[in-house]
């Protein structure tokens, strides 16, 4: 008996009401969004509820959407996995240009470095993280390099033209 997506949706809307939204199947993974203020509580429910039982945090990462409105500038994406029913879900939360979200390092020990990585590359502040400092880049760095405005290469180079490398004004 696989864990039905309708059960997940029912349970969560019952508990969180309007705070969880946009339920959909994105290819093979059930995806939904949650408001950042309820994120920690939601992940805890997903982990501790006997029926839901999402016991494993597979992945956590950030995304930058500079072209979205001001409330959807950043997203943090969580992939959770229920090993008993073998079901994966994806939880997304959108943040403002001054991104801040509750840390889930107290729920999953593995979230510790994943959140540090997200902080390092996107500058997303995880409130309540035990040791939020840079992990892959050097400590002296000021910028957050995975943000879209951060250029990949030295801007002074003239031998490379963005039009030949995928992004043009038309297809962006």
């Amino acid at each position: 008996m696989a864990l039905e997506t309708t059960i997940i949706q029912e349970k969560l809307t019952q508990k969180f009401g309007e705070k969880v939204l946009d339920f959909c199947m994105s290819k093979d993974i059930f995806t939904f969004e949650v408001v950042p203020s309820k994120l920690h509580e939601l992940i805890q429910t997903l982990r501790d509820d006997e029926e839901l039982n999402f016991n494993f945090l597979t992945d956590l990462c950030g995304i930058h959407f500079p072209e979205n409105d001001e409330n959807h500038q950043f997203a943090v994406v969580y992939h959770l996995h229920n090993w008993i029913e073998n079901t994966r879900i994806r939880v997304k939360t959108y943040l403002t240009a001054d991104p801040e979200v509750m840390s889930i390092a107290d729920l999953f020990l593995c979230a510790n470095w994943m959140e540090r990585e997200t902080w390092d590359f996107y500058g997303i502040n995880f409130v309540g993280h035990p040791q939020l400092k840079r992990i892959l880049n050097m400590d002296e760095m000021i910028s957050h390099p995975m943000r879209k405005e951060f250029p990949m290469e030295d801007g002074g180079r003239t031998d490379k033209d963005d039009r030949f490398f995928g992004r043009t004004i038309i297809n962006q």
Partner: protein, 411 residues
């Protein structure tokens, strides 16, 4: 001489001064790495030690960070593949195939059965290489050099097979969107068959050298154990998790590339210590060999790649003579191929755990965001806890039994 001593203001000197043993004796701080020959890669750990015993450890990573995720956002899909090679370079074909499968999932491409089976063969070969390196190096770290030299020639044999398939050995860049770039030559199958004949003999001997070896057992049993609960909490996957007794394997949980057609078991350990990790890897090599044999026996005839001219570069001869091929060649190279807007997560069982690609596209030819779920980045955070209370020489053994690959750790 006095210049070599720590000045009283140095932060280490302060720590040493503040944290003393109960009887007032001094502790010491040792900087292990970043480039130490015993750590097989660039890992730095600052250890607080009481004599030979480790009290605390602080790992620093990122010494070979190459910003693959950023580079991937600026490259078309088929050029991202060469980045994946360089993550877990002990088993690069697995990373390559995982990336193609992610793109195929995005584009809804059905790969022909033959190509899927050939992918399974090459992925299992890569798994053998990965485990072979990890286990033999673990032998070296415990003082047994012979086994390493003995099995390493078979890594060479596997690399010769890779070479026959794709022309490269270490960073393979193997395959294309939809399958392989060309049919495997008869020589590939010849080499493969010789390997299947000779390798088991050698691997059996390697096992016999270690599994009941008194010194090896003393060095590894109860060294760096981790409980199943802790392993889940720390996000362990792959052989390290299975050594703790949990039979989670992506090949079985979410079969990809026709893994459901093969009959194999998932070896599990009990206590999650270094010896169990070693034994689980040994057993997995036998399973991989069995999968390769089954795949060779059942190998269907047919095309080697899916019929997706929009994404698969046509043969060069055709480009010069055939209008259609020329158009497709132009479209692919100039990036005018249709790409759906979607979000994909695809996971495979890599050499050391669940290797996942989280891909978000916006309709352009490059990924909008590509995140690599690197298994050893996630489980390496358990390392300070695992070596707490262990001897310094155990720390080296634990590190090599975890199979942490620096390229994957730092991406």
């Amino acid at each position: 001489m006095s210049e070599l001593l720590l000045s009283p203001e140095h932060r280490y000197a302060k720590i040493i001064e503040q944290t003393r043993n109960e009887d007032g004796s001094e502790l010491s701080i040792l900087n292990l790495g970043p480039t130490h020959p015993a750590t097989h890669g660039i890992f730095q750990n600052i250890l607080l030690m009481d004599g030979e015993r480790i009290l605390e450890a602080e790992p620093t990573i990122g010494y070979i960070h190459r910003a693959f995720e950023k580079i991937a956002e600026n490259r078309p899909f088929y050029q991202v593949n060469v980045l994946t090679d360089r993550m877990n370079y002990c088993s690069s074909p697995i990373n390559n195939m995982a990336w193609w499968m992610t793109v195929e999932k995005l584009l809804d491409i059905e790969v022909p059965k033959r190509a899927q089976y050939l992918r399974v063969i090459v992925m299992e070969l890569a798994r053998i290489t990965d485990h072979l390196i990890c286990n033999s190096i673990l032998g070296v770290d415990t003082g047994a050099y012979t086994g390493f030299l003995y099995v390493f020639q078979f890594r060479e044999k596997i690399y010769e097979i890779y070479e026959e398939i794709c022309g490269a050995r270490l960073t393979t860049n193997m395959g294309r969107i939809g399958g392989f770039e060309r049919e495997w030559s008869p020589k590939t199958f010849e080499l493969l068959n010789t390997f299947l004949e000779e390798f088991p003999v050698c691997w059996r001997e390697f096992e016999n050298l270690f599994e009941r070896n008194r010194i090896f057992i003393d060095r590894t049993i109860n060294v760096g154990p981790i409980s199943a609960e802790k392993a889940i909490q720390y996000g362990f996957t792959g052989p390290n998790l299975r050594a703790a007794g949990i039979d989670y394997d992506v090949r079985v949980a979410q079969p990809y590339s026709s893994y459901e057609d093969f009959d194999f078991s998932i070896p599990v350990g009990k206590s999650g210590d270094t010896y169990d990790r070693f034994c689980v890897r040994n057993a997995e090599v036998w399973e991989s060999l069995s999968i390769i044999r089954q795949a060779l026996a059942k190998l269907p005839e047919g095309p080697i790649h899916a019929n997706v001219p929009d994404y698969y570069l046509p043969p060069k001869e055709d480009v010069y003579q055939n209008m259609e091929s020329l158009i497709y060649h132009f479209k692919i190279v100039m990036g005018e191929i249709p790409v759906p807007v979607a979000e994909i997560y695809h996971a495979v069982e890599g050499g050391n755990g669940e290797l996942g690609f989280y891909l978000t596209t916006d309709g352009s030819r490059t990924p909008y965001r590509l995140h690599f779920r690197r298994p050893c980045f996630i489980y390496y955070q358990a390392y300070p806890e695992m070596i707490k209370g262990a001897m310094l020489s155990d720390a080296i053994v634990i590190l090599s039994s975890l199979n942490v690959i620096a390229g994957e750790l730092d991406a």
